[in-house]
Protein backbone atom coordinates (compact mmCIF):
# COMPACT_ATOMS: atom_id res chain seq x y z
CA UNK A 1 0.00 0.00 0.00
CA UNK A 2 1.01 3.57 -0.66
CA UNK A 3 2.39 5.74 2.12
CA UNK A 4 0.22 8.57 0.84
CA UNK A 5 -3.15 7.02 1.57
CA UNK A 6 -2.17 5.23 4.76
CA UNK A 7 -5.23 4.92 6.97
CA UNK A 8 -5.51 4.48 10.72
CA UNK A 9 -6.56 0.89 10.06
CA UNK A 10 -3.25 0.16 8.31
CA UNK A 11 -1.29 1.58 11.22
CA UNK A 12 -3.33 -0.35 13.78
CA UNK A 13 -2.79 -3.53 11.76
CA UNK A 14 0.98 -3.04 11.85
CA UNK A 15 0.85 -2.54 15.61
CA UNK A 16 -1.21 -5.68 16.06
CA UNK A 17 1.39 -7.60 14.06
CA UNK A 18 4.14 -6.21 16.25
CA UNK A 19 2.21 -7.19 19.37
CA UNK A 20 1.59 -10.69 17.98
CA UNK A 21 5.27 -11.14 17.24
CA UNK A 22 6.13 -10.08 20.78
CA UNK A 23 3.55 -12.50 22.16
CA UNK A 24 5.16 -15.34 20.18
CA UNK A 25 8.52 -14.55 21.74
CA UNK A 26 7.01 -14.14 25.22
CA UNK A 27 5.00 -17.35 24.82
CA UNK A 28 8.00 -19.43 23.81
CA UNK A 29 10.01 -17.89 26.63
CA UNK A 30 7.37 -19.05 29.14
CA UNK A 31 7.21 -22.41 27.37
CA UNK A 32 10.81 -23.06 28.24
CA UNK A 33 10.16 -23.39 31.96
CA UNK A 34 7.85 -26.09 33.44
CA UNK A 35 5.83 -23.85 35.75
CA UNK A 36 4.85 -21.27 33.17
CA UNK A 37 4.75 -23.49 30.08
CA UNK A 38 0.99 -23.77 29.79
CA UNK A 39 0.52 -20.02 30.10
CA UNK A 40 3.18 -19.53 27.44
CA UNK A 41 1.32 -21.69 24.98
CA UNK A 42 -1.88 -19.72 25.57
CA UNK A 43 -0.10 -16.37 25.11
CA UNK A 44 1.34 -17.52 21.81
CA UNK A 45 -2.10 -18.73 20.74
CA UNK A 46 -3.58 -15.36 21.73
CA UNK A 47 -0.97 -13.63 19.58
CA UNK A 48 -1.95 -15.80 16.64
CA UNK A 49 -5.67 -15.14 17.10
CA UNK A 50 -5.07 -11.39 17.26
CA UNK A 51 -3.03 -11.40 14.07
CA UNK A 52 -5.69 -13.47 12.29
CA UNK A 53 -8.63 -11.28 13.31
CA UNK A 54 -6.77 -8.04 12.61
CA UNK A 55 -5.82 -9.29 9.14
CA UNK A 56 -9.43 -10.19 8.33
CA UNK A 57 -10.77 -6.84 9.49
CA UNK A 58 -8.02 -4.41 8.53
CA UNK A 59 -5.94 -5.84 5.70
CA UNK A 60 -6.07 -3.95 2.40
CA UNK A 61 -4.60 -4.95 -0.94
CA UNK A 62 -2.33 -2.75 -3.05
CA UNK A 63 -5.38 -0.94 -4.51
CA UNK A 64 -6.64 -0.15 -1.03
CA UNK A 65 -9.53 -2.62 -1.17
CA UNK A 66 -10.39 -4.34 2.07
CA UNK A 67 -11.56 -7.93 2.44
CA UNK A 68 -15.15 -8.29 1.20
CA UNK A 69 -17.98 -10.08 2.97
CA UNK A 70 -18.11 -13.03 0.56
CA UNK A 71 -14.36 -13.61 0.85
CA UNK A 72 -14.59 -13.30 4.60
CA UNK A 73 -17.28 -15.98 4.63
CA UNK A 74 -15.01 -18.36 2.72
CA UNK A 75 -12.12 -17.61 5.08
CA UNK A 76 -14.20 -18.19 8.19
CA UNK A 77 -15.64 -21.35 6.69
CA UNK A 78 -12.19 -22.75 5.90
CA UNK A 79 -10.88 -21.81 9.35
CA UNK A 80 -13.89 -23.33 11.11
CA UNK A 81 -13.56 -26.54 9.10
CA UNK A 82 -9.78 -26.85 9.55
CA UNK A 83 -10.04 -25.77 13.17
CA UNK A 84 -12.61 -28.38 14.11
CA UNK A 85 -10.64 -31.16 12.41
CA UNK A 86 -7.39 -29.98 13.99
CA UNK A 87 -8.89 -29.70 17.47
CA UNK A 88 -10.59 -33.09 17.25
CA UNK A 89 -7.42 -34.83 16.07
CA UNK A 90 -5.36 -33.07 18.74
CA UNK A 91 -7.84 -33.97 21.50
CA UNK A 92 -8.58 -37.53 20.53
CA UNK A 93 -5.22 -38.91 19.46
CA UNK A 94 -3.48 -41.28 21.83
CA UNK A 95 -0.52 -39.78 23.64
CA UNK A 96 1.64 -42.61 22.34
CA UNK A 97 1.04 -41.34 18.81
CA UNK A 98 2.46 -37.93 19.71
CA UNK A 99 5.60 -38.10 17.52
CA UNK A 100 3.46 -38.88 14.46
CA UNK A 101 1.04 -36.08 15.27
CA UNK A 102 3.75 -33.47 15.69
CA UNK A 103 5.16 -34.53 12.31
CA UNK A 104 1.73 -34.37 10.72
CA UNK A 105 1.01 -30.85 11.96
CA UNK A 106 4.45 -29.82 10.81
CA UNK A 107 3.67 -31.19 7.36
CA UNK A 108 0.50 -29.09 7.15
CA UNK A 109 2.46 -25.94 8.00
CA UNK A 110 5.00 -26.74 5.29
CA UNK A 111 2.25 -27.40 2.76
CA UNK A 112 0.53 -24.10 3.57
CA UNK A 113 3.79 -22.19 3.06
CA UNK A 114 4.49 -23.94 -0.23
CA UNK A 115 0.97 -23.20 -1.50
CA UNK A 116 1.12 -19.52 -0.53
CA UNK A 117 4.48 -19.20 -2.28
CA UNK A 118 3.18 -21.02 -5.36
CA UNK A 119 0.21 -18.66 -5.70
CA UNK A 120 2.25 -15.56 -4.97
CA UNK A 121 4.82 -16.43 -7.64
CA UNK A 122 2.28 -15.69 -10.35
CA UNK A 123 1.15 -12.46 -8.68
CA UNK A 124 2.53 -9.56 -10.79
CA UNK A 125 2.66 -7.29 -7.70
CA UNK A 126 5.07 -9.62 -6.00
CA UNK A 127 8.58 -8.22 -6.36
CA UNK A 128 10.38 -10.72 -4.17
CA UNK A 129 11.09 -13.66 -6.45
CA UNK A 130 13.95 -15.05 -4.40
CA UNK A 131 12.09 -15.39 -1.09
CA UNK A 132 8.98 -16.66 -2.85
CA UNK A 133 10.92 -19.48 -4.47
CA UNK A 134 12.82 -20.21 -1.26
CA UNK A 135 9.50 -20.42 0.57
CA UNK A 136 8.24 -22.82 -2.08
CA UNK A 137 11.33 -25.03 -1.88
CA UNK A 138 11.66 -25.09 1.91
CA UNK A 139 7.92 -25.47 2.47
CA UNK A 140 7.70 -28.43 0.06
CA UNK A 141 10.72 -30.15 1.60
CA UNK A 142 9.24 -29.66 5.08
CA UNK A 143 5.91 -31.04 3.87
CA UNK A 144 7.06 -34.20 2.10
CA UNK A 145 9.85 -34.80 4.64
CA UNK A 146 7.41 -34.56 7.54
CA UNK A 147 4.97 -36.89 5.81
CA UNK A 148 7.73 -39.49 5.43
CA UNK A 149 8.69 -38.97 9.08
CA UNK A 150 5.02 -39.44 9.95
CA UNK A 151 4.94 -42.69 7.96
CA UNK A 152 8.08 -43.95 9.64
CA UNK A 153 6.85 -43.18 13.14
CA UNK A 154 3.53 -44.77 12.31
CA UNK A 155 5.33 -47.86 11.03
CA UNK A 156 4.13 -47.49 7.41
CA UNK A 157 7.47 -46.49 5.90
CA UNK A 158 10.65 -48.48 6.31
CA UNK A 159 14.15 -47.01 6.47
CA UNK A 160 16.09 -47.31 3.27
CA UNK A 161 19.72 -47.29 4.10
CA UNK A 162 22.02 -47.12 1.10
CA UNK A 163 25.15 -45.24 0.31
CA UNK A 164 23.97 -44.17 -3.17
CA UNK A 165 20.97 -42.33 -1.75
CA UNK A 166 23.41 -39.82 -0.26
CA UNK A 167 24.81 -39.07 -3.72
CA UNK A 168 21.35 -38.90 -5.26
CA UNK A 169 20.38 -36.39 -2.58
CA UNK A 170 23.36 -34.21 -3.40
CA UNK A 171 22.40 -34.31 -7.08
CA UNK A 172 18.80 -33.36 -6.29
CA UNK A 173 20.00 -30.46 -4.14
CA UNK A 174 22.17 -29.26 -7.02
CA UNK A 175 19.18 -29.46 -9.39
CA UNK A 176 17.09 -27.41 -6.96
CA UNK A 177 19.80 -24.74 -6.72
CA UNK A 178 20.24 -24.64 -10.50
CA UNK A 179 16.49 -24.36 -11.14
CA UNK A 180 16.19 -21.61 -8.56
CA UNK A 181 18.96 -19.55 -10.12
CA UNK A 182 17.67 -20.13 -13.62
CA UNK A 183 14.13 -19.05 -12.77
CA UNK A 184 15.44 -15.95 -11.02
CA UNK A 185 18.10 -14.83 -13.45
CA UNK A 186 17.60 -16.80 -16.68
CA UNK A 187 16.24 -15.06 -19.73
CA UNK A 188 13.24 -17.20 -20.57
CA UNK A 189 9.64 -16.11 -21.18
CA UNK A 190 7.37 -15.98 -18.13
CA UNK A 191 5.29 -18.96 -19.33
CA UNK A 192 8.35 -21.23 -19.41
CA UNK A 193 9.38 -20.00 -15.98
CA UNK A 194 5.93 -20.77 -14.62
CA UNK A 195 6.37 -24.37 -15.79
CA UNK A 196 9.85 -24.48 -14.26
CA UNK A 197 8.33 -23.35 -10.97
CA UNK A 198 6.09 -26.44 -11.04
CA UNK A 199 9.17 -28.55 -11.79
CA UNK A 200 10.95 -26.91 -8.86
CA UNK A 201 7.98 -27.77 -6.63
CA UNK A 202 8.05 -31.40 -7.75
CA UNK A 203 11.82 -31.76 -7.31
CA UNK A 204 11.62 -30.20 -3.84
CA UNK A 205 8.90 -32.64 -2.85
CA UNK A 206 11.08 -35.50 -4.06
CA UNK A 207 14.02 -34.15 -2.10
CA UNK A 208 11.98 -34.08 1.12
CA UNK A 209 11.25 -37.78 0.62
CA UNK A 210 14.76 -38.85 -0.29
CA UNK A 211 16.33 -36.77 2.45
CA UNK A 212 14.29 -38.27 5.28
CA UNK A 213 14.16 -41.79 3.81
CA UNK A 214 17.58 -43.03 4.98
CA UNK A 215 17.34 -41.42 8.42
CA UNK A 216 15.64 -43.44 11.09
CA UNK A 217 15.70 -44.90 14.55
CA UNK A 218 17.70 -42.94 17.07
CA UNK A 219 18.25 -40.14 14.53
CA UNK A 220 14.52 -39.41 14.32
CA UNK A 221 14.58 -36.72 17.06
CA UNK A 222 17.16 -34.79 15.05
CA UNK A 223 15.22 -34.97 11.82
CA UNK A 224 11.89 -34.06 13.43
CA UNK A 225 13.22 -30.93 15.04
CA UNK A 226 15.09 -30.05 11.85
CA UNK A 227 11.87 -30.29 9.82
CA UNK A 228 10.17 -28.18 12.45
CA UNK A 229 12.82 -25.55 11.99
CA UNK A 230 12.38 -25.65 8.20
CA UNK A 231 8.63 -24.98 8.46
CA UNK A 232 9.37 -21.89 10.52
CA UNK A 233 11.85 -20.64 7.92
CA UNK A 234 9.35 -21.29 5.11
CA UNK A 235 6.71 -19.22 6.93
CA UNK A 236 9.24 -16.42 7.37
CA UNK A 237 10.00 -16.44 3.63
CA UNK A 238 6.29 -15.99 2.94
CA UNK A 239 6.34 -13.17 5.48
CA UNK A 240 8.83 -11.34 3.26
CA UNK A 241 6.40 -11.44 0.36
CA UNK A 242 3.84 -9.53 2.40
CA UNK A 243 6.40 -7.48 4.37
CA UNK A 244 4.58 -8.90 7.37
CA UNK A 245 6.62 -8.60 10.57
CA UNK A 246 4.52 -11.09 12.54
CA UNK A 247 5.19 -13.77 9.93
CA UNK A 248 8.87 -12.94 9.50
CA UNK A 249 9.59 -12.71 13.22
CA UNK A 250 7.44 -15.70 14.19
CA UNK A 251 8.86 -17.86 11.41
CA UNK A 252 12.52 -17.03 11.97
CA UNK A 253 12.08 -17.37 15.71
CA UNK A 254 10.64 -20.86 15.30
CA UNK A 255 13.38 -21.64 12.79
CA UNK A 256 16.09 -20.60 15.25
CA UNK A 257 14.46 -22.44 18.15
CA UNK A 258 14.09 -25.59 16.06
CA UNK A 259 17.70 -25.34 14.99
CA UNK A 260 18.86 -25.20 18.61
CA UNK A 261 16.84 -28.25 19.50
CA UNK A 262 18.28 -30.00 16.46
CA UNK A 263 21.84 -29.20 17.47
CA UNK A 264 21.07 -30.20 21.07
CA UNK A 265 19.95 -33.61 19.81
CA UNK A 266 23.06 -33.94 17.68
CA UNK A 267 25.20 -33.06 20.67
CA UNK A 268 23.45 -35.75 22.70
CA UNK A 269 24.67 -38.25 20.13
CA UNK A 270 28.09 -36.70 19.67
CA UNK A 271 27.50 -36.41 15.94
CA UNK A 272 27.40 -33.45 13.63
CA UNK A 273 24.22 -32.47 11.82
CA UNK A 274 25.86 -33.21 8.46
CA UNK A 275 26.79 -36.65 9.74
CA UNK A 276 23.18 -37.37 10.70
CA UNK A 277 21.79 -36.13 7.38
CA UNK A 278 24.29 -38.03 5.31
CA UNK A 279 23.56 -41.02 7.48
CA UNK A 280 27.12 -42.10 8.05
CA UNK A 281 28.05 -43.62 11.37
CA UNK A 282 31.53 -42.86 12.66
CA UNK A 283 33.92 -45.51 13.82
CA UNK A 284 37.07 -46.76 12.16
CA UNK A 285 39.29 -46.60 15.27
CA UNK A 286 41.20 -49.53 16.66
CA UNK A 287 38.93 -52.24 17.99
CA UNK A 288 39.25 -53.12 21.64
CA UNK A 289 39.46 -56.81 22.20
CA UNK A 290 37.40 -57.92 25.12
CA UNK A 291 35.98 -60.94 26.74
CA UNK A 292 32.36 -61.32 25.87
CA UNK A 293 31.45 -63.19 29.04
CA UNK A 294 28.18 -64.99 29.36
CA UNK A 295 24.60 -63.87 29.24
CA UNK A 296 22.89 -64.39 32.58
CA UNK A 297 19.11 -64.48 32.71
CA UNK A 298 16.93 -63.62 35.67
CA UNK A 299 13.50 -64.98 36.55
CA UNK A 300 10.56 -62.72 37.27
CA UNK A 301 10.52 -63.86 40.93
CA UNK A 302 14.19 -63.06 41.49
CA UNK A 303 13.86 -59.73 39.73
CA UNK A 304 10.81 -58.84 41.83
CA UNK A 305 12.62 -59.69 45.08
CA UNK A 306 15.70 -57.75 44.00
CA UNK A 307 13.64 -54.64 43.22
CA UNK A 308 11.33 -54.87 46.21
CA UNK A 309 14.16 -54.96 48.75
CA UNK A 310 16.29 -52.24 47.18
CA UNK A 311 16.50 -48.72 48.48
CA UNK A 312 17.28 -46.97 45.21
CA UNK A 313 16.01 -48.03 41.78
CA UNK A 314 16.55 -46.21 38.50
CA UNK A 315 14.47 -47.01 35.42
CA UNK A 316 16.00 -46.27 32.02
CA UNK A 317 13.22 -46.15 29.42
CA UNK A 318 13.83 -46.35 25.68
CA UNK A 319 11.88 -46.68 22.49
CA UNK A 320 11.01 -50.29 23.41
CA UNK A 321 8.82 -48.95 26.22
CA UNK A 322 6.93 -46.78 23.74
CA UNK A 323 6.55 -49.56 21.18
CA UNK A 324 5.18 -51.98 23.79
CA UNK A 325 3.01 -49.15 25.22
CA UNK A 326 4.18 -50.34 28.61
CA UNK A 327 4.26 -46.94 30.31
CA UNK A 328 1.17 -47.56 32.47
CA UNK A 329 2.31 -50.91 33.79
CA UNK A 330 5.74 -49.38 34.37
CA UNK A 331 4.16 -46.66 36.46
CA UNK A 332 2.18 -49.30 38.37
CA UNK A 333 5.41 -51.12 39.25
CA UNK A 334 6.93 -47.81 40.29
CA UNK A 335 4.00 -47.16 42.67
CA UNK A 336 4.22 -50.64 44.21
CA UNK A 337 7.93 -50.16 44.85
CA UNK A 338 7.45 -46.67 46.26
CA UNK A 339 4.80 -48.06 48.61
CA UNK A 340 7.53 -50.28 50.05
CA UNK A 341 9.85 -47.32 50.56
CA UNK A 342 11.98 -47.84 47.46
CA UNK A 343 13.16 -44.62 45.85
CA UNK A 344 12.34 -44.84 42.13
CA UNK A 345 13.73 -42.43 39.55
CA UNK A 346 13.77 -42.40 35.77
CA UNK A 347 16.92 -41.62 33.84
CA UNK A 348 16.10 -39.85 30.60
CA UNK A 349 18.63 -39.78 27.76
CA UNK A 350 18.11 -36.76 25.49
CA UNK A 351 17.67 -38.90 22.39
CA UNK A 352 15.72 -41.77 23.95
CA UNK A 353 12.68 -42.42 21.78
CA UNK A 354 11.81 -40.92 18.44
CA UNK A 355 11.36 -37.21 19.12
CA UNK A 356 12.92 -34.72 21.51
CA UNK A 357 11.39 -35.31 24.95
CA UNK A 358 9.51 -38.43 23.83
CA UNK A 359 10.03 -40.35 27.08
CA UNK A 360 8.84 -37.42 29.17
CA UNK A 361 5.54 -37.21 27.33
CA UNK A 362 5.10 -40.97 27.46
CA UNK A 363 5.68 -41.19 31.21
CA UNK A 364 3.63 -38.09 31.94
CA UNK A 365 0.73 -39.82 30.24
CA UNK A 366 1.14 -42.69 32.69
CA UNK A 367 0.90 -40.22 35.61
CA UNK A 368 4.59 -40.34 36.52
CA UNK A 369 5.37 -37.00 38.24
CA UNK A 370 7.92 -35.12 36.19
CA UNK A 371 10.11 -34.52 39.23
CA UNK A 372 10.99 -38.21 39.05
CA UNK A 373 12.38 -37.87 35.55
CA UNK A 374 16.05 -37.05 35.87
CA UNK A 375 18.29 -35.94 33.03
CA UNK A 376 21.35 -37.96 32.10
CA UNK A 377 23.99 -35.61 33.49
CA UNK A 378 22.23 -35.34 36.82
CA UNK A 379 21.69 -39.03 37.36
CA UNK A 380 25.07 -40.35 36.23
CA UNK A 381 26.92 -39.39 39.46
CA UNK A 382 24.30 -41.35 41.44
CA UNK A 383 24.78 -44.54 39.47
CA UNK A 384 27.34 -46.22 41.79
CA UNK A 385 24.92 -45.66 44.68
CA UNK A 386 22.00 -47.20 42.81
CA UNK A 387 20.95 -50.71 43.84
CA UNK A 388 19.14 -51.74 40.70
CA UNK A 389 18.84 -50.17 37.26
CA UNK A 390 16.03 -51.45 35.08
CA UNK A 391 16.69 -50.83 31.39
CA UNK A 392 13.42 -51.05 29.50
CA UNK A 393 13.75 -51.16 25.73
CA UNK A 394 16.83 -48.95 25.57
CA UNK A 395 20.10 -50.12 24.06
CA UNK A 396 22.59 -47.73 22.49
CA UNK A 397 22.08 -45.04 25.15
CA UNK A 398 23.41 -47.43 27.82
CA UNK A 399 26.19 -49.03 25.77
CA UNK A 400 29.53 -48.60 27.60
CA UNK A 401 31.35 -48.97 24.28
CA UNK A 402 30.53 -45.28 23.75
CA UNK A 403 32.95 -44.51 26.60
CA UNK A 404 35.89 -46.78 26.00
CA UNK A 405 35.85 -48.37 22.54
CA UNK A 406 37.23 -46.01 19.88
CA UNK A 407 36.28 -48.50 17.17
CA UNK A 408 32.61 -48.33 18.09
CA UNK A 409 30.36 -46.28 15.82
CA UNK A 410 28.85 -44.61 18.88
CA UNK A 411 32.21 -43.85 20.51
CA UNK A 412 32.03 -40.45 22.20
CA UNK A 413 28.25 -40.40 22.58
CA UNK A 414 27.29 -39.45 26.16
CA UNK A 415 25.47 -42.38 27.78
CA UNK A 416 23.64 -43.21 30.98
CA UNK A 417 26.30 -45.09 32.94
CA UNK A 418 24.12 -47.94 34.12
CA UNK A 419 27.08 -50.36 34.15
CA UNK A 420 28.31 -48.52 37.26
CA UNK A 421 25.21 -49.47 39.23
CA UNK A 422 25.28 -52.41 41.66
CA UNK A 423 22.81 -54.45 39.60
CA UNK A 424 21.34 -54.03 36.15
CA UNK A 425 18.22 -55.73 34.82
CA UNK A 426 17.87 -55.39 31.07
CA UNK A 427 14.40 -55.96 29.63
CA UNK A 428 14.72 -56.88 26.01
CA UNK A 429 12.75 -58.82 23.46
CA UNK A 430 15.76 -60.91 22.42
CA UNK A 431 19.44 -60.63 21.74
CA UNK A 432 18.91 -58.50 18.62
CA UNK A 433 21.08 -55.42 18.32
CA UNK A 434 19.81 -51.86 18.68
CA UNK A 435 19.18 -49.36 15.92
CA UNK A 436 22.87 -48.80 15.31
CA UNK A 437 23.45 -52.59 15.15
CA UNK A 438 26.28 -52.47 17.65
CA UNK A 439 27.27 -55.12 20.15
CA UNK A 440 26.40 -54.03 23.68
CA UNK A 441 28.87 -55.29 26.29
CA UNK A 442 26.56 -54.19 29.04
CA UNK A 443 24.57 -57.37 28.48
CA UNK A 444 27.60 -59.51 29.30
CA UNK A 445 28.57 -57.60 32.43
CA UNK A 446 28.97 -59.40 35.78
CA UNK A 447 26.28 -57.27 37.40
CA UNK A 448 23.85 -57.54 34.48
CA UNK A 449 20.87 -59.88 34.32
CA UNK A 450 18.74 -60.23 31.20
CA UNK A 451 14.96 -60.43 31.36
CA UNK A 452 13.73 -61.46 27.92
CA UNK A 453 10.26 -60.74 26.60
CA UNK A 454 8.19 -57.79 25.42
CA UNK A 455 8.40 -54.88 27.87
CA UNK A 456 4.70 -54.98 28.63
CA UNK A 457 4.56 -58.72 29.42
CA UNK A 458 7.78 -58.63 31.41
CA UNK A 459 6.58 -55.70 33.51
CA UNK A 460 3.22 -57.39 33.99
CA UNK A 461 4.98 -60.50 35.34
CA UNK A 462 7.09 -58.33 37.64
CA UNK A 463 4.04 -56.50 38.98
CA UNK A 464 2.29 -59.81 39.68
CA UNK A 465 5.35 -61.12 41.50
CA UNK A 466 5.82 -57.94 43.51
CA UNK A 467 2.16 -58.01 44.57
CA UNK A 468 2.64 -61.59 45.75
CA UNK A 469 5.57 -60.64 47.99
Amino acid sequence: MDALNLTNGDIILEFVYLLSALLFVYGLKLLSSPDSARKGNLWAAAGMLMAMIATMVLHRDSDGGSIKGANLAIILGAIAFGGVIGAVIARRIKMTAMPQLVSFFNATGGAASALVALIEYSNPDNQSGLVTLLGLVIGSIAFSGSMIAYGKLNGNVKDIFTRWLTYINLVILAIIAALLLYILFGSTPAETKQILVYVLLAVSLVYGVSFVMPIGGADMPVVISLLNSLTGIAAAMAGFIYHNEAMILGGIFVGAAGMILTLLMCKAMNRSLINVIIGAFGGGGVAVDREKGVIKEISATDAAVMLYYSSKVVIVPGYGLAVAQAQHICSEMDELLEANGVEVKYAIHPVAGRMPGHMNVLLAEADVPYEKLVEMDEINPDMPKTDVVVVIGANDVVNPAALDDPSSPIYGMPIIKVHEARNVIVMKRGMGKGYAAIENYLFYGDNTRMFFGSAKESLQKLVTEIKAL
Binding site: A51, R91, G357
Partner: protein
Protein backbone atom coordinates in the same frame (compact mmCIF):
# COMPACT_ATOMS: atom_id res chain seq x y z
CA UNK B 1 23.06 -11.07 -11.03
CA UNK B 2 25.38 -9.59 -8.41
CA UNK B 3 23.54 -6.32 -8.76
CA UNK B 4 20.15 -7.87 -8.13
CA UNK B 5 21.47 -9.62 -5.03
CA UNK B 6 22.76 -6.31 -3.69
CA UNK B 7 19.46 -4.69 -4.66
CA UNK B 8 17.64 -7.39 -2.69
CA UNK B 9 19.74 -6.70 0.38
CA UNK B 10 19.13 -3.00 0.11
CA UNK B 11 15.37 -3.16 -0.34
CA UNK B 12 15.04 -5.67 2.50
CA UNK B 13 17.59 -4.19 4.86
CA UNK B 14 15.11 -3.73 7.73
CA UNK B 15 13.87 -7.27 7.40
CA UNK B 16 17.42 -8.60 7.34
CA UNK B 17 18.11 -6.66 10.53
CA UNK B 18 15.05 -8.19 12.11
CA UNK B 19 16.11 -11.68 11.06
CA UNK B 20 19.63 -11.34 12.41
CA UNK B 21 18.34 -10.11 15.75
CA UNK B 22 15.55 -12.66 15.88
CA UNK B 23 17.98 -15.54 15.39
CA UNK B 24 19.95 -14.35 18.41
CA UNK B 25 16.74 -13.87 20.36
CA UNK B 26 15.67 -17.41 19.48
CA UNK B 27 19.02 -18.80 20.61
CA UNK B 28 18.82 -16.87 23.89
CA UNK B 29 15.23 -17.76 24.71
CA UNK B 30 15.42 -21.44 23.93
CA UNK B 31 18.83 -22.44 25.24
CA UNK B 32 18.78 -24.33 28.55
CA UNK B 33 15.34 -25.78 28.10
CA UNK B 34 14.93 -28.85 30.35
CA UNK B 35 14.33 -32.04 28.36
CA UNK B 36 10.91 -32.42 30.03
CA UNK B 37 9.76 -29.59 27.82
CA UNK B 38 11.40 -30.58 24.54
CA UNK B 39 8.24 -32.03 23.02
CA UNK B 40 5.82 -29.28 24.14
CA UNK B 41 8.30 -26.62 23.08
CA UNK B 42 8.69 -28.18 19.67
CA UNK B 43 4.97 -28.57 19.24
CA UNK B 44 4.25 -25.03 20.49
CA UNK B 45 6.87 -23.63 18.12
CA UNK B 46 5.31 -25.72 15.38
CA UNK B 47 1.94 -24.08 16.04
CA UNK B 48 3.57 -20.65 15.80
CA UNK B 49 5.02 -21.52 12.40
CA UNK B 50 1.38 -21.86 11.36
CA UNK B 51 1.50 -18.03 11.20
CA UNK B 52 1.57 -18.69 7.46
CA UNK B 53 -2.21 -18.73 7.92
CA UNK B 54 -2.02 -14.92 7.65
CA UNK B 55 -0.79 -15.42 4.09
CA UNK B 56 -3.75 -17.69 3.43
CA UNK B 57 -6.18 -15.11 4.81
CA UNK B 58 -4.67 -12.38 2.63
CA UNK B 59 -4.79 -14.58 -0.49
CA UNK B 60 -8.36 -15.76 -0.09
CA UNK B 61 -9.42 -12.37 1.26
CA UNK B 62 -8.43 -10.54 -1.89
CA UNK B 63 -9.36 -13.25 -4.37
CA UNK B 64 -11.52 -11.84 -7.17
CA UNK B 65 -14.73 -13.82 -6.72
CA UNK B 66 -16.52 -12.03 -9.60
CA UNK B 67 -14.03 -13.06 -12.28
CA UNK B 68 -13.25 -16.60 -11.28
CA UNK B 69 -13.00 -17.78 -14.87
CA UNK B 70 -10.35 -15.20 -15.76
CA UNK B 71 -6.76 -16.46 -15.83
CA UNK B 72 -5.80 -18.65 -12.91
CA UNK B 73 -8.17 -16.93 -10.47
CA UNK B 74 -10.14 -20.08 -9.69
CA UNK B 75 -7.03 -22.23 -9.32
CA UNK B 76 -5.48 -19.66 -7.02
CA UNK B 77 -8.64 -19.43 -4.93
CA UNK B 78 -8.77 -23.21 -4.50
CA UNK B 79 -5.06 -23.42 -3.65
CA UNK B 80 -5.52 -20.49 -1.26
CA UNK B 81 -8.36 -22.25 0.53
CA UNK B 82 -6.17 -25.33 0.89
CA UNK B 83 -3.37 -23.16 2.29
CA UNK B 84 -5.87 -21.76 4.80
CA UNK B 85 -7.08 -25.24 5.73
CA UNK B 86 -3.56 -26.59 6.22
CA UNK B 87 -2.53 -23.47 8.12
CA UNK B 88 -5.52 -23.76 10.45
CA UNK B 89 -4.81 -27.44 11.09
CA UNK B 90 -1.26 -26.46 11.99
CA UNK B 91 -2.25 -23.58 14.26
CA UNK B 92 -5.30 -24.98 16.07
CA UNK B 93 -4.06 -28.58 16.19
CA UNK B 94 -0.63 -27.44 17.33
CA UNK B 95 -1.81 -25.21 20.16
CA UNK B 96 -4.46 -27.67 21.35
CA UNK B 97 -2.10 -30.64 21.44
CA UNK B 98 0.57 -28.60 23.21
CA UNK B 99 -1.97 -27.55 25.81
CA UNK B 100 -3.04 -31.16 26.26
CA UNK B 101 0.54 -32.25 26.83
CA UNK B 102 1.21 -29.47 29.32
CA UNK B 103 -2.03 -30.20 31.14
CA UNK B 104 -0.69 -33.72 31.64
CA UNK B 105 2.52 -32.37 33.14
CA UNK B 106 0.61 -30.01 35.40
CA UNK B 107 -1.81 -32.61 36.74
CA UNK B 108 1.05 -34.66 38.02
CA UNK B 109 2.54 -31.84 40.01
CA UNK B 110 -0.28 -31.68 42.51
CA UNK B 111 -0.01 -35.34 43.39
Amino acid sequence: MMESVLQFFYTNKEAIFIIALTIFLGLEVISNVPSVLHTPLMSGANAISGVIIIGGIILVGHADLENLTAGSNLLNLVLGIFALLFGTLNVIGGFVVTDRMLEMFKKKKKK
